[in-house]
């Protein structure tokens, strides 16, 4: 459900920053399902499987790096074009 909202955000909005936020929503939806699966998989010793939680940790780290790079690209683009709308950035369109 959260993934769908994020996906709709990527499809519908025309502002790059909002699109980045919607990407974060989708990553977090995946994280939520991973944590739920780790809660399903309970070992005989009574602890949940922590492999999925380690995976979520990696996803959060990579997402942080991705947001930093994405926002730096947005800042560079804004300096060049003074806009954050994807419809105004059509330099590669022929």
């Amino acid at each position: 459900m959260l993934f769908t909202i994020g996906f709709a955000g990527v499809m519908l909005r025309r502002n790059i920053i909002i699109i980045l936020m919607a990407l974060e929503l989708m990553l977090n939806a995946a994280n939520l399902s991973l944590v739920a699966f780790s809660r399903f998989q309970v070992n005989p010793s009574g602890v949940p499987g922590y492999n999925a939680q380690v995976f979520v940790f990696f996803i959060i780290t990579v997402a942080a790096a991705e947001v930093a790079v994405g926002l730096a690209i947005v800042v560079a683009l804004f300096r060049l074009r003074q806009t954050t709308h994807v419809e105004d950035i059509t330099a590669l369109k022929f």
Binding site: F7, M11, L32, V54, A64
Partner: protein, 167 residues
């Protein structure tokens, strides 16, 4: 009681997640993203993933949202003017999103384990930070190092991207 908290956090997450997409003002959108992530962190805590829940609050609601708000202030974005909406693209986006939602729901409906509730966990011998740390440094040591390199590359890349040309 636990079910009540689940519904509170899940509704908070979904409503504010929709508000992120619907709001016209980028600042309001970023703040609703914070609330949505807080609800998600509550869900993580109720799933007995305390470490992930705390990391979620620290990294997302703390660091990443400060980054978003800082960029929004830096670029001085106003609420978008209501420009001419491309109705075909909008309808297409909503249709694709609804198709995806229908598909996800049908997959979950076929998944038999989705209907059972979680049995309560027995008290674990050691806390989950201990367990995750052991796993991270024993079984997942190489990916951990690779993630460190990824962050280094991202840092250098951001510096290169945001440097002004001085020629």
């Amino acid at each position: 009681m636990s079910s009540f908290f689940f519904w509170v956090f899940a509704l908070m997450m979904l409503i504010f997640g929709a508000a992120v997409v619907i709001n016209r003002n980028p600042v309001a959108s970023a703040l609703s993203l914070v609330v949505s992530f807080l609800g998600l962190a509550g869900l993580f805590l109720s799933l007995d993933a305390y470490f992930i829940g705390i990391i979620q609050i620290l990294v997302y609601a703390g660091a990443i949202m400060v980054l978003f708000l800082f960029i929004i202030m830096l670029l001085d974005l106003r609420a978008e003017k209501l420009r001419k909406i491309n109705w075909i693209a909008t309808a297409g986006g909503i249709a694709v999103a609804l198709a995806l939602l229908f598909q996800i729901l049908s997959v979950i409906g076929r998944f038999p384990a989705a209907k059972q509730t979680f049995p309560p966990l027995p008290k674990p011998a050691s806390d989950d930070v201990h367990q995750i740390g052991l796993l991270l440094f024993n079984a997942y040591n190489l990916p951990f190092q690779v993630v460190g390199v990824v962050i280094l590359v991202a840092t250098i890349g951001v510096i290169v991207l945001s440097r002004r040309e001085t020629r």
